[in-house]
Symmetry: C2
Subunit: 359 residues, 2 copies
C-alpha cells in the first residue's frame, strides 16, 4: 500500500534516497564495504563527508566564514551545548519564547546563564510570533535565541529578526532546508537532522567562525565547536551513516532545483491544507495566519470525541502518524520536503470525506 | 571481490545484518516505512527499541537493577558525561592509565574533578595492564575509571578489578560483547557502538540504578542518565536507525550462541594471529602476552620502510584498513566479532608470504 507518513520526526525521507541506501548497503561504490563499516578516517568516508558539507554549503549558500559541523545530541543536546559554547564571559542570554521548543531551550540554558525572556507568546497560548518591536532585549546578552519553527505549536518565523550586533542563534530543526535563508544574518544555526535532513542522531551546527572562541571551560570536547571545527567534526567518531544519508538527501534536494524550488512546493502544499482548514468549522488551526508553519500543521476536530475514529480511518487509508503531540492533543500533519503534494491532497480529501460523514 | 575489513571502528558488521537492513530499508515489516522514517514514539519503533534492550540484557546477563541507555556522543562524549553524572559531592576520580583512551578520559575528567592516576603503564610505553596490587587508590574517590580494552595500544584486561565499595567505571567500547562479563562488578559500563555493537553515533551506557542520583547541576538533560533512564532513552530523539542496526547485531549474536560462543571464536582468531607473530622476528607485537587484546592487534614490521608495500599488497588482496593508528604507526588488525576466522587466516597467509619475499 502507498503510505503517506506525516510524522513530525523522525520523518518521511525521499524514496530515491532510501532506494539508493538499500542498493549501496553491502557495497558502496565497489569498495566492498557498507558505509557503516568504513573508518571515518578512510578516504572513502572522507569523500562522503566532504561532499555532504559542500552540497549543504551550496544549498544554503553558507558563507566561507561559517563552520559547518556534523555533531550528535540533537536539539535538546544543543540546548545545553549552545550556551556552553557561546556564553564566554557574559552572564545573560535573551530568549524569545514561542512555544514548547523555546521553553526547552530556556530550561536548559538556565543551568549555565541568566535567562531574559525578551518576548513571549504565552499570552495567546503560543499561537503567534511576537513582533520585533515588542522584544525587550537586555544590554549585555551573550546572544539572542529564537526557535524559528515550533514543531509542536506549528508557528514559524516568516522573517529574520534584526538584533543588531548581538549574535542571533536559531534552532531551525524543523524547517531548515525548507526555504532559503540568509545565513549571514545569524551567528549560529542548529538543528536535529530528523526532519528535513536525514536520520535521527545527527545534529547540524552552522556557526560564524568568529564566535568560536567563547566556550566555557566545562564544554565537553565532543561538543566543543572550535575543537570540532578544527578537526572537521572528527574529534570523535562522527555518526557516519547518518552523514551519508544526509548527503544523499542533499543530492536529492539539489536535483529538485535546490531550496528555492522546494520552497515553492512547500508553499503550495501548505496552502492546500490551510485553505481547506479555513473553509470549514469542523477543523481548526489556532495559529495566526501570518505565523503559520509550512512544515507542521496542527489542527483539532471540533468534536474531539471523533479523534480516535479520524486517526483510525486515516491509518486505514495509509496516512500515518497524524496524532498530535501528547502535550497539545488533536492532530498534526508534518509536511516536510519529502512529503509529496499527493500526500497532502490525500489528507485533504480524507478530511473532507470525514467531515461530510460527521459534520 | 571478497574483502576483509580490519578497521578499528567503525568496523565490519555481520553480512546477515547488512542484508536484512537492505531488505527492510523501504518497508519495515509491512509498515510501509523505513525504520529511519518512524517516529521514535510510534508503536513500531518502540517495539524495535524494547527488543534491542531485552536482547542486550540477555546477551550480557544485565541485572534488573541496572539501567540500559541508548545515547549519543560516543566514548569521547562520555568522558565528560561520566564525571558530570557520577561526581556528586566528591572531588576526586581515580584513573588507571593504560594508554591513549585512558589519557583521553583523564584529560576530559580534569574539566570537572581532581584526577588521581592510581596506576599507569606509561613506564613501559603502555604495553601492559598494571597489576591490581600496584594501584594507589585515593580515599574518597567518586569512582575508579578503567579502559578495559585499549583500541590503539592493543591492551586488554583479562580480569575484573576489585576496588571494594567504590564504583568501578569501565570504558568497554572496543571489546564489549566479545566475552562474558559480570556486570554486577561494575558501577557503570559504557562504550561507543561502532566496534562490536553497530553503527557510529550510538553510545551504550549500562549503569547501576543506585548511582543515578549523583549528577552535577550542569549535566545537560540529553546526557543526564537519570532523566534518560526515566524516559527509556527518549528524553530526546534517540539515534533510531543505529539502535535498529544494533538490535539486528544482537539478534545475530544470539543466533551465534551468545557471548560465550563468540568468545571461543575470538580466542581462536586471536591465537592464530598472535601465534604467528610470536613465531617470527619479521613482525612484532609489543604487548605483554597476558594483557594482549583479542580485538585489536597492533604489530610492526621489523623494517618500517616496507610498511607502504605491505599495505598495498594487503589492499590488493582485499584486506582493508590495516594501517595502524597515526599516533603509533605500523599496522593494526582489528578482529571484532563480525570478522570471520577466514579473514584472520587470509591475513596470516599474506603476512607469511610477505615475510618470505622480504625476510
Amino acid at each position: 500500500m502507498q503510505v503517506f507518513n506525516f510524522s513530525a520526526g523522525p520523518a518521511v525521507l525521499p524514496k530515491e534516497v532510501l532506494k539508493r541506501a538499500a542498493d549501496e548497503m553491502l557495497d558502496w561504490h565497489g569498495s566492498g564495504m557498507s558505509v557503516m563499516e568504513m573508518s571515518h578516517r578512510g578516504k572513502e568516508f572522507i569523500s562522503i563527508a566532504h561532499k555532504a558539507e559542500a552540497d549543504l554549503r551550496t544549498l544554503l549558500a553558507i558563507p566561507a566564514d561559517y563552520a559547518v559541523l556534523f555533531l550528535q545530541g540533537g536539539a535538546i543536546g544543543e540546548n545545553a551545548i549552545v550556551p556552553m559554547n557561546l556564553l564566554g564571559d557574559r552572564k545573560t542570554i535573551d530568549f524569545v519564547n514561542t512555544g514548547e521548543w523555546s521553553k526547552k531551550s530556556i530550561k536548559e540554558a538556565k543551568k549555565y546563564a541568566q535567562v531574559n525572556v525578551a518576548a513571549s507568546a504565552e499570552d495567546r497560548n503560543f499561537t503567534y510570533v511576537p513582533a520585533r518591536e515588542t522584544w525587550k532585549l537586555s544590554k549585555d546578552a551573550a546572544y539572542v535565541h529564537v526557535c524559528t519553527n515550533e514543531t509542536i505549536g506549528g508557528v514559524e518565523y516568516q522573517w529574520t529578526p534584526d538584533v543588531g550586533n548581538v549574535p542571533l542563534v536559531a534552532d531551525m530543526s524543523s524547517h531548515i532546508l525548507s526555504r532559503p535563508i540568509d545565513v549571514s544574518r545569524y551567528g549560529v544555526i542548529y538543528g536535529g537532522a530528523q526532519k528535513n535532513v536525514g536520520p535521527a542522531g545527527l545534529t547540524l551546527v552552522i556557526a560564524r567562525r568568529s564566535l568560536l572562541d567563547r566556550a566555557l571551560p566545562i564544554t565537553p570536547s565532543a561538543f566543543h565547536w572550535k575543537e570540532q571545527a578544527e578537526n572537521e567534526s572528527m574529534l570523535n567518531t562522527p555518526p557516519t551513516y547518518a552523514i551519508y544519508i544526509a548527503g544523499l538527501v542533499f543530492e536529492w534536494l539539489l536535483a529538485q532545483g535546490g531550496v528555492a524550488a522546494i520552497e515553492k512546493k512547500n508553499i503550495a502544499k501548505a496552502k492546500l491544507l490551510y485553505d481547506y482548514l479555513d473553509s470549514t468549522e469542523f477543523y481548526r488551526n489556532p495559529v495566526a495566519k501570518s505565523d503559520r508553519s509550512r512544515m507542521n500543521v496542527p489542527f483539532k476536530l471540533r468534536d474531539e470525541k471523533l479523534d480516535a475514529e479520524f486517526l483510525k480511518g486515516a491509518e486505514a487509508r495509509g496516512m500515518l502518524q497524524l496524532k498530535g503531540h501528547r502535550s497539545v492533543g488533536g492532530m498534526r500533519a508534518s509536511i516536510y520536503n519529502a512529503m509529496p503534494i499527493e500526500g497532502v491532497q490525500a489528507l485533504v480529501n480524507y478530511m473532507r470525506e470525514f467531515e461530510k460523514r460527521h459534520g
